[in-house]
Amino acid sequence: MVGGQPGNSPWTVSLRNRQSQHFCGGSLVKEQWVLTARQCFSSCSEPLMGYEVWLGTLFQNPRPGEPDLQRVPVTKMVCGPSDSQLVLLKLERSVTLNQRVALICLPPERYVVPPGTKCEIAGWGETKGPSDETVLHVASLNVISNQECNKKYQGQVQESEMCTEGLLVPRGACEGDYGGPLACFTNDCWVLEGIIFPSRVCARPLWPAIFKRVSVFVDWIHKITHME
């Protein structure tokens, strides 16, 4: 996370590979389901033996026996619609919700976050600076319209994507943050409006950041979590 600060984001989870190393972020959308980026996984059908989701800690490498840490194996992966670049991970069991672990709200179908809305991204990724990426970092970003965003990206931004404004001093996602949430505050709740997906660069000065727009795929999320 470039330009962020250590902070709290109880729905941001750490995806761990078979050697328990953090490799991507994710968002807790149901007690037994995590939404993340497809790019983080090698295949839709690959067995996920040994992969885990870690929740309830601010530390990338929590000490053994940390009381708030929950480690839950991933049992299943469901790939989203082809243009979504999203996957849902089913956990072996429901997580325990508490002050450190919370569900993030899902947006209404096809909801468009108004420009100017204040949002946050969170992750344990590269900070590109003196800040310590071993603790969870959070950065605030303001939403801009796709029309505004497309001025910079020459029409490349699709409706299934959304943007936050580019700042002079770079602030945004970087290596290791992919799959994590863009959470926006609506009606007194934090809502998962975007997913950080691998882009060409970490936060660049004055370049808007692009996210996958969750509201376009929220019907799929509901369908999977109800049917599976």
Partner: protein, 473 residues
Amino acid sequence: QRSPLNDFQLLQDTQLQNLLHAVVAGPWREDVADAEECARFCGSLLDCRAFHYNRSSHSCQLLPWTQNSSHTQLHYSKGCDLFQKKDYVRTCIMDNGVRYRGTVAMTEDGLPCQGWNYKFPNDHNYIPTLQNGLEENFCRNPDGYLGGPWCYTTNRTVRFQSCGIKSCQDAACIWCNGEDYRGAVDRTASGRECQRWDLQHPHSHPFQPDKFPDRGLDDNYCRNPDGSERPWCYTTDPQLKREFCDLPRCGSNLPWSIRGPETQPREATTFNCFRGKGQGYRGTANTTTAGVPCQRWDAQSPHQHHFAPEKYACKDLQENFCRNPDDSEAPWCFTSLPGIRMAFCYQIKRCTDEVPPEDCYHGTGEQYRGLVNKTRKGIPCQHWSAETPHKPQFTPTSAPQAQLEENFCRNPDGDNHGPWCYTTDPRTLFDYCALRSCNDDQLPSILNPPDQVQFVKCGKRVDRLDKQRSRMR
């Protein structure tokens, strides 16, 4: 620090049954702490060759036979593990094979062995006992013969001959970096005994066999689960965590390009995209996802590392190209920035794993009545009227308007992402079909929902935690 289990080979969820009714296995011991305690019992008894260990009841049963004994059969048995003494089941020999208790009964020239109980055609002074393991006509080495296990032959003119059983060291060689080595060497290059992969003592480690089912982390054999230079193991010496094993290379003097298929990447080679974890990626992307230039693999600055191209000949560590030599999640590289050691190259696209669409649909495909009957991954659809492998929520009876015929792709629930079907793969309930949206369609525009949106039981957090942290700082 060695575990008594080191003398045993494990077959998980397996029971070994003797089919002869006259032969009965020992009673179950209910009072054991763990499998190591059973191994200690069995190891000290000459007539114990294997044991069952029940993981839930923590009990074990000693067995006087192995899977190589006559009239025995292996069975799947959940929760019950079978441990067999390595000396009885290993098909190669350690040292000069004095402890070999296998069932080879033929000499290296193909002569049948004479039974150790027989004095004809070759007379001898050996008397079979439990100690010397002289059994039937199996090759043995009761005198420590340097040529390994031998036997008297049934040919009067050849009194005895070596059986030519290979040493475990020579029985299997390694290609590339030995990720596929599945041999039975359980000693490091300095002669230390390996720690079992399924134990966490004397050294704790992340390579639990259950987590790495494709890495062959059997017992305490040398393996390479982490893209090291060659197979290795944790040692039973508390002072030395891990060490390489000394194993022969296969055809090591041939150049990589002509060594044969064993040396090729396990994943198919790709150049513009990557499949799976990208071990087969051989393209020229040379920056990280964030655009940071990669460090050359043959350089040790700014980051020191052990991935020297000459030691990883099969991994094609050319220039500063993104590669995956160690089973990481995707191609990666060391970066040219001193502050960032390594990073993934996620900007390389994944090769599509979808089959070409065979038809198209209008709108969201609720009116699609075509004949496509497979998913975007090419999996055949399940019939809408079938109940296996998945019990459908939508059936021809429950949704007659959707015309759920045979196993054709349909959209009975108005899914925004197009027609779908239940799949014939038991692991995948449903998936979208090998269809595309027809070109003449106007994409539906995003609509704003009603102003008032209510959320329940989500999206709340206690920001006090942040404040506590600030105060601590």
